[in-house]
């Protein structure tokens, strides 16, 4: 059993939105970046994994166990950092530690205190006096202190200064280093993923558009940057495209890029290219349809 997290054909129906038949898996020892624009379904997916939101159909397994029937056993091994903090503003971090440690058998005070000391988190200061970055670090320290095997983070680096972001990313790298643990985190900051992620899962409008190892992005896709005259008749071959008056840049499958374009015009894509052009492609089609209808 190498997969620490498996999501199979999971659907959640809301009024006017649905997370539609999503499937992906996360292996031990890996960090998976979960990317998508606002409202794409990232947080809903995370909440379904934690069973905080009920799924309409499908199957979610963690550590090879069903996430509902073995909820307690599974959550004992999970560390979670939500996008919005769960702190009681007028309380202190020390009180939150006392509350949280009641539930975990493996709670490690030494580790927690070391993390707090390293991140300069005052235990007796009121939470409302904490900055956004301090709150994120505090939640991360709380999530790590019970020695989880899977970390689920919802935009953990948002609001952190560059130094703190690098610190957090280093911690995530170290966390998975023994090959037995994994990290699943959603983010908008794709440069963070370039630094640490092993896998990328892209969700758009409730559907998984891509879930692949980070190395496979450049094997599968290419960026073409060329003059607008080269685009004639090939526009529909692109996943997403941005056109200027003279030049264009677009994401395209590598085999198509090799077929249609000169090698000098082909560049290697990064995660941001994948995210932006996948979303851009659809938006462009929709906006063109609106313009035509006017």
């Amino acid at each position: 059993m190498n997969n620490i997290l498996e999501i199979n054909s999971v659907t959640k129906l809301f009024k006017g939105f649905k997370v539609d038949n999503i499937s992906f898996a996360l292996e031990k020892g890996c960090i998976m970046g979960f990317i998508g624009e606002n409202g794409a379904g990232k947080t809903t997916t995370i909440k379904m994994i934690l069973n905080a939101v009920e799924k309409s159909s499908g199957e979610i397994k963690m550590f090879g166990l069903d996430h509902i029937t073995h909820e307690e056993e599974i959550k004992e091994k999970i560390g979670y950092v939500p996008a919005d903090d769960y702190f009681t503003a007028n309380s202190t971090l020390l009180k939150h530690v006392k509350a949280l440690k009641l539930f975990y058998k493996k709670w490690d005070d030494t580790l927690f205190n070391a993390l707090c000391a390293s991140w300069k988190l005052p235990l007796n200061q009121k939470i409302f006096e904490y900055s956004k970055g301090m709150k994120t670090k505090a939640m991360l320290a709380l999530a790590l202190a019970h020695k989880p095997e899977l970390l689920i983070l919802d935009e953990p680096t948002a609001g952190l200064d560059p130094v703190a972001r690098i610190e957090v990313l280093d911690i995530l790298r170290d966390f998975v280093a023994n090959g037995e643990r994994a990290v699943f985190f959603s983010t908008h900051i794709t440069t963070d993923l370039d630094k640490v992620a092993d896998y990328i899962t892209l969700i758009h409008e409730g559907k998984i558009r891509e879930s692949l190892p980070i190395d496979a992005i450049e094997e599968k896709y290419a960026i073409v940057d060329s003059g607008i005259e080269d685009l004639k008749g090939k526009e529909h071959e692109f996943v997403g495209i941005r056109k200027g008056e003279i030049r264009f840049e677009g994401l395209i499958l590598r085999e198509k890029a090799n077929k249609y374009f000169d090698n000098s015009k082909i560049k290697t894509p990064n995660i941001e290219n994948l995210l932006v052009y996948t979303i851009w492609g659809e938006k462009d089609e929709k906006s063109m349809a609106i313009i035509k209808s006017l």
Binding site: L50, E72, A99
Partner: protein, 264 residues
């Protein structure tokens, strides 16, 4: 049930001394007045001065303090960590905190019920004490009627909170609807406290009218009903209230969750 107790403990620990200042002052006032009521009742029992006039004064005081204690329970249940009132106004989001914990939704629902019970505990203790003392004083019916009003008030509010926190959760996702319910609770508590200024005269009036008209006046039956609730029947009613509240806020929601999630 152990996990439910732990959740309750965690919610109290997290909130710690961060309760609203107003709520803390309210807590102190409530306990002081509860103490005063109990002392005055005990004193009345010892000196055996339960004549008509004293009872009227005592009844008025009881209604006011009782309303306050019951209102306190409701206020407390609004501001505890289990509240789902929107995050910005409640400044606490225990549900998000609990999402990560190795507990099931069943534990959270049970903890929520324990939380409601804990909130109304002062009111229940005070009312049971009042009922026992009044029964032992063997006074006329009027004192029991005052207590009956409080028991009825507590039962209605408790069941409303149970419905709101339990069954309503599955039908009204919109927090605004639920906030309105809370505002209604608070206003109702305040209303009872203020209206009771002239309440004692009203009850005496009801009784006179009811006695003179005997069974022909519907107020007579209301008075008899309240008299029942203010007597030993009130203790039985409070017990029944707890059982019905358990079904509304705990048993039925758990059944719904288990049905939805395909658990046994």
């Amino acid at each position: 049930m152990r996990k439910a107790w732990l959740l309750l403990k965690a919610s109290r620990t997290m909130i710690g001394d961060s309760n609203r200042l107003a709520l803390n002052i309210f807590t102190v006032l409530v306990w002081v007045f509860m103490g005063l009521t109990m002392i005055s009742l005990t004193f009345a029992a010892i000196v055996y001065k339960a004549n008509q006039e004293d009872i009227a004064i005592m009844g008025k005081l009881m209604i006011q303090i009782g309303g306050m204690v019951i209102g306190y329970g409701i206020a407390r249940s609004i501001y505890t960590g289990f509240t789902e009132v929107k995050k910005d106004s409640a400044k606490s989001n225990f549900r998000v905190f609990a999402a990560q914990l190795p507990v099931t939704k069943e534990d959270i629902i049970k903890a929520q019920f324990l939380d409601i019970l804990q909130c109304i505990l002062p009111a229940v203790l005070m009312l049971v004490y009042m009922i026992i003392m009044t029964a032992s004083l063997k006074t006329e019916n009027s004192l029991s009627i005052y207590i009956g009003v409080l028991v009825a008030f507590l039962i209605v509010l408790f069941l409303m909170v149970c419905i709101e926190k339990g069954v309503f959760t599955y039908f009204f996702i919109n927090n605004r609807v639920r906030e309105v319910v809370y505002v209604a609770f608070a206003m109702l508590s305040a209303l009872v406290i203020f209206v009771s200024q002239d309440f004692s005269k009203g009850v005496e009036g009801y009784l006179d009218t009811a006695h003179s008209l005997e069974n022909t006046n519907s107020l007579y039956y209301v008075a008899q009903g309240l008299n029942f609730l203010g007597g030993i029947g009130g203790i039985v009613s409070l017990l029944l209230m707890g059982i019905i509240g358990y079904y509304l806020s705990c048993y039925i929601p758990i059944k719904i969750y288990n049905f939805r999630e395909g658990r046994k």
